[in-house]
Amino acid sequence: MTDSVQIVYFCTQGGLMKKRIEDLTVIENRRLAESFFLIKVSSPGGLPEINPGQFVQALVTESPATFLRRPLSVHDVDRNMNTISLLVQIAGPGTERLSRLNPGEKLNLVYPLGNSFTLPSEGEKVLLTGGGCGMAPLLYLGRKISESGVQPHFALGFRNRSRILGHDEFKTLGPVHLSTEDGSEGHRGFVTDIPAFRDEKWDRIYCCGPEPMMKAVAAACIRRGIFCEVSLENLMACGLGICLCCVVPTTSGNLCSCTDGPVFNVNDLKWQTSG
């Protein structure tokens, strides 16, 4: 009976992006590679507007060691099917429990949360770069960029061949360049070593991935004067800007990566003090 109870409190106040708490239904849960899973959930009330870069806070049930929700990037949105895709990497008991969700089960989400990437202008040349679970928000971003009439290019980095996540959907949107640290597939090294990243002229580079990767990408962009936005994955409790735990030092002081981010322009970050 409790499963059928729909907890939906729609926003009663003004504001463009209304947040909600809702029980969504798991449609699909598929293992992509090693510890990576793709979970597709459907909203009974119909999806709200969701922008690329935004995230959800997923409630983890039946996991006694898990107290807080787990922040997950929106990997993709399918308006026709009324579904959101979430990319989950098992990092502990909470994400392990999420990886075992069965179709038909409920997943309670607080969403949509955070700001979003700035879309490019017509005619701009843009590269979306990321690695591991950090590539999660790049698919939806690529889709939105493609819909806006700009061709997205992707540079995706992985540790080795066995950790490469399916990227066929990326290929439907634009050229995909791969790198692996051991050279077992694609270019050997990091995303910043990929010739397309290094040598071509980009107007915008978007990045989401492990912090060392984002810092390397940011440093290269600052040096070359390229507009660059990164999506941070700081530890957070609430996702709503009330606990002030996920802060990142910026030129405007400590800001919450959940509400002022997760997307930041690299020129606004003071990364030398946050590492």
Binding site: Y9, F10, C11, T12, Q13, G15, K18, K19, R20, I21, L59, P64, A65, T66, F67, L68, R69, V110, N234, L235, M236, A237, C238, L240, G241, I242, C243, L244, C245, C246, V247, V248, P249, G253, N254, T259, T273, S274
Partner: protein, 304 residues
């Protein structure tokens, strides 16, 4: 229908559920999830005279049935608050209370004096129990003489409802509650977070930049409940209970132990609509148990 109204000093609250400081921002952050006018009140985030950046990241660690935080009173200071935040708060149809912090007694006094002048703020919560700052905070709340001095000084300049937020990191919390009562506070709220720490065995490093932090969540509820019960028996002023309340049943336990009102904190991070759900749950409980008002069950376990 049950009468949920309660009184703290001269101030009447619509119901006994108040959002705890540091877990509800300035209220607006939670408006998508609940109607703030259905709450007894909200206590907005810890405020200081000067703007503060707080402690470095990482400031949070999840722990069994709870979490540690080491935010360190990040806020934009009273000038910014008065100019940019207060005008919005003044429009809320619920009691908006400000949590007051300082490094020195002079800081507490000056800030309280400033807040005394803000008409839409009917009460302050004097925070002498923040465990995450190097100066002030818990230093006042763990030393009886310092506690008396700061409460007494603030009482002289603050003419509205004064609530003192007590630290659980003491041997006998009733001593601090008695001091608060003697110095003229209208109420005490307890407990603030318990001092704790977490270490990452994998990286062999502390999980918080400050090494220690404040523990909250259901992990601390039995400790908080015990302290609320002790304090409710030790003083005549109202006690506001908090610490690990996740639902209406938890809130009712604090009321049965002697709390006139409760504060709802960490649960809002997981269920941002918890505050008003708890109000409804308390009312439902009273109706089912055939009590016509919440005051009938306040401290019920102490009555036999």
């Amino acid at each position: 229908m049950a009468d949920l109204r309660i009184k703290i000093g001269p101030l009447e609250f619509r119901n006994p559920v108040i959002l705890a400081s540091g877990t509800c921002g300035y209220g607006a952050e939670l408006e998508d999830f609940m109607d703030l006018s259905e709450l007894g009140g909200i206590i907005v985030k810890g405020t200081t005279l000067e703007p503060r950046e707080g402690n470095p990241y990482p400031r949070m660690a999840e722990t069994p049935s709870g979490m540690l935080n080491a935010v360190g009173l990040q806020n934009k200071g009273i000038d910014y608050f008065e100019k940019n935040i207060y005008p919005h708060l003044a429009e809320y149809d619920t009691h908006v209370i400000v949590n007051v912090n300082g490094n020195t007694i002079e800081d507490y006094v000056e800030l309280s004096r400033r807040l005394d002048e803000l008409k839409a703020i009917p009460a302050i919560e004097l925070n002498i129990s923040c465990p995450n700052v190097k100066k002030g905070g818990m230093i006042f709340g763990t030393n009886p003489a310092s506690a008396r001095e700061v409460i007494s000084a603030v009482r002289k300049v603050y003419h509205k409802t004064l609530i003192v937020k007590l630290s659980p990191n003491v041997t006998d919390i009733t001593e601090f509650a008695r001091i608060s009562e003697e110095e003229g506070a209208e109420a005490v709220s307890l407990v603030n977070t318990l001092l704790g720490m977490a270490i990452d065995a994998r990286t062999m490093r502390p999980k918080l930049s400050t090494i220690t932090g404040g523990l909250s969540g259901p992990a601390i509820k039995p400790v908080a409940l015990r302290m609320v019960w002790q304090v409710a028996r030790a003083v005549r002023i109202p006690v506001i209970g908090l610490g690990g309340i996740m639902n209406a049943e938890d809130a009712i336990e604090f009321i049965l132990a002697g709390a006139t009102a409760v504060q709802v904190g960490t649960v809002s991070f997981i269920d941002p609509g918890a505050g008003t759900s708890i109000v409804k749950g308390i009312e439902k409980y009273l109706v089912e148990k055939e009590f016509d008002s919440v005051s009938r069950i306040t401290g019920l376990i102490n009555r036999n």
